[in-house]
């Protein structure tokens, strides 16, 4: 096991892929000389050169589309989109082409494209750099949506994604880049099919993914000190969703709190709630609860941003509401 940051883990995975497979290349805004807006690709240009570490103009639609075309043409592109808000500029290519071409062509084409996208708030970047829109992506048939929350997954999920034959979108919560953890660089394969039970518990299931896993774990620790035994599930993959792990957990705890940094209305948290109702209704002892961002564009000021994002106290309060007081 090697200790490294989340940022270094993504870089290590890209380096390994670039070394192992000549078809792999990285393309995006400032991925080369600048080293990546989040310094993820720092140093890769020196090792692999400008053909494979390819700085693109601020043309999200063109370079995501070029990634699709390059994938059709036999390459294995990794396209970096600087933030999820910018990915809106490429939505035509993502939805109408990447997700669609295989089915629309009657199975003749497939698009082995990996898109890495920074997501989420918490860094005072305001309303055009901070949202959590990965749930929108999870709505789209034809693609996979991965949300690595740990350093290990930051490494393994990217390598696994490069072995897929269809488009994979990896959403990296920007708050995670400095996070430290351990990576098994000797592993041969990495799972991208199952949610993970990060903490086992019996009283309530706290279901989350990506940037809110840390806060959810803190909440579980504090709940434990109050005698509430929380199970924590990291969804890891939003599409295709591992419903079984959620259902198994709720069958055990009979209560669920969904923690999601996205907005509540029409959201992925609503999808999880619906899945629980459809598949585990009889197991529920209380209504499903959700802790989401306030329904506002992300504000800049620190206190306002904090008030917008889901916080540990809210997760605890939501769990306490569901679990009957002991004694």
């Amino acid at each position: 096991m090697t200790k490294m940051t989340y940022r270094e883990a993504v870089r290590a995975a890209m380096r390994k892929a670039l070394r192992d497979d000549p078809r792999v290349f990285l393309m995006g805004e400032d991925v080369g000389r600048y080293g990546g807006a989040f310094a993820v690709s720092l140093g890769l240009l020196a090792e692999f050169g400008p053909e494979r570490i390819r700085d693109a103009p601020l043309s999200e639609s063109a370079f995501v589309g070029a990634g699709i075309g390059a994938a059709l043409g036999g390459m294995r592109p990794i396209v970096e989109i600087m933030t999820i808000n910018f990915s809106m500029l490429a939505m035509d290519q993502i939805l109408n082409n990447a997700a669609t071409l295989r089915h629309m062509s009657g199975g003749q084409l497939n698009v082995p494209l990996v898109c890495r996208v920074a997501t989420g708030g918490g860094r005072q970047m305001a309303a055009q750099h901070s949202h959590s829109l990965e749930g929108w992506y999870a709505h789209i048939p034809g693609i996979k949506v991965l949300t690595p929350a740990t350093v290990s997954d930051a490494y393994g999920m990217l390598l696994a994604a490069l072995h897929e034959s269809d488009p994979v979108f990896i959403f990296e919560h920007a708050i995670l880049y400095p996070l430290e953890g351990e990576v098994d660089e000797s592993a041969e394969t990495f799972d991208i099919t199952r949610a993970a039970v990060i903490r086992s518990g019996s009283d309530v299931s706290l279901i989350t993914y990506g940037g809110t896993l840390g806060k959810t774990m803190q909440a579980a620790d504090r709940l434990a000190s109050e005698g509430i035994d929380a199970e924590v599930i990291d969804l890891r993959i939003l599409r295709p969703l591992d419903t079984q792990t959620i259902v198994n957990s709720v069958a055990k705890t009979h209560r669920a709190v969904i923690v999601d940094e996205a907005w509540r209305t029409g959201s992925f948290s609503a999808e999880i709630s619906a899945q629980i109702m459809e598949n585990a209704f009889d197991n529920l002892d209380a209504p499903v609860a959700r802790v989401c961002s306030a329904e506002a564009p992300m504000p800049y000021a620190k206190h306002l941003e904090a008030a917008t994002l889901p916080q540990v106290d809210q997760i605890i309060a939501a769990a306490q509401e569901l679990v009957p007081r002991h004694g």
Binding site: A71, L72, L109, K144
Partner: protein, 332 residues
């Protein structure tokens, strides 16, 4: 050598000239049959006919080899036929049958044939351009000796994807011919009503691209210009924008009542029908006789009749296979 010189020389080749005429007639008759099948409710959804633009589809395609990639639009029947896709799989696709070139998933707007490197009809205006740029990028990175032919209409020029794609292709010197089929209308809006600069070929200069415009009703001129463009690209000079100035004789789609242009305008363009013009030229040169034409028409009629029978008799894609080709499904 000018395009005209090349045209004159090409015109000497009788066999090739008859081939071009035949290809254009094949598209015309196919489209007429498609319109008929739409009226009979055998074809549904949107149907955009290529009638009037045959010289661009046929002339342009002569510049590309089977190693090259083709990206087209939702008005792509002409390119598909010119790319040697059999009429029967196209008709079957429009009938929504399993034997269609996209298994009935695409319909009229989304023909695909990966074996012919026909990477499809794209129905988001401008949406095919970035994909074409990527195909060219893949070829360049893998040192494949191939180029990409990217067809799009004049309407696409108003889209950001056109400008982003031209810039990216020029910046990276990618082997791609951007072939604009300027039929003067973006659906119902005339070029001068949506473009401040109506000379599309001039837009290339903003991105440092070489470009030219050609009479899109003259198949030999289009062929010569497309071959010049392709040669330029094959020589490693980067991309090229060729604007072919043409006109569609039918409405935008079968659903379009065509209220936005005058009958006089349409009739004046029909006097420059690319098939009639070429027929006349070949007759003048003594290369085409009535029996020649009758033979060609009869062969085409046979192919199209076969296409309709094939489409009619073909099975539907089983509903159970609905999700078969959806990507990104659980693999465990």
């Amino acid at each position: 050598m000018t395009a005209t010189d090349i045209s004159e020389r090409a015109a000497i080749d009788r066999e090739h000239s008859l081939f071009l005429l035949r290809e254009m007639l094949r598209i015309r008759r196919f489209e007429e049959k498609a319109a008929e099948m739409y009226s009979l409710q055998k074809i549904h959804g949107f149907l955009h006919l290529y009638i009037g633009e045959e010289a661009t589809g046929v002339g342009g395609m002569q510049a590309f080899t089977q190693q090259d990639n083709i990206v087209a639009t939702y008005r792509e029947h002409g390119q598909a036929l010119a790319r040697s896709m059999p009429a029967r799989v196209l008709m079957a696709e429009m009938f929504g049958k399993a034997t269609g070139c996209s298994h009935g998933h695409g319909g009229s707007m989304h023909f695909f044939d990966v074996t012919r490197r026909f990477y499809g009809g794209y129905a988001i205006v401008g949406g095919g351009l970035p994909v074409a740029v990527g195909l060219a990028l893949a070829d360049k990175m893998q040192n494949r000796q191939a180029i990409t032919g990217c067809y799009f209409g004049d309407g696409a020029v108003a889209e950001g994807e056109f400008h982003e794609s031209l810039n990216l292709a020029a910046l990276w010197k990618l082997p791609i011919v951007f072939l604009c089929e300027n039929n003067l209308y973006a659906m119902g809006t005339a070029l001068e009503r949506y473009q401040a600069q109506t000379d599309i070929s001039r837009k290339a200069s903003a991105y440092g691209l070489s470009s030219s415009a050609v009479d899109g009703m003259d198949v030999l001129a289009v062929e010569a210009a497309a071959k010049q463009a392709a040669d330029f690209v094959r020589s490693g000079n980067g991309p090229y924008l060729l604007e072919s100035r043409t006109y569609r004789f039918r409405a935008h789609s079968m659903a379009d009542p065509d209220l936005y242009r005058t009958k006089e305008e349409i009739e004046s363009w029909k006097k420059r029908d690319p098939i009639t013009l070429f027929e006349r030229k070949l007759r003048e040169l003594g290369m085409l006789t009535d029996p020649d034409l009758a033979r060609i028409e009869s062969e085409i009629a046979g192919e199209i009749e076969d296409a309709v029978q094939f489409a009619e008799a073909s099975p539907q894609e089983p509903t159970e296979d609905l999700l078969k080709d959806v990507g990104g499904q659980a693999t465990r």
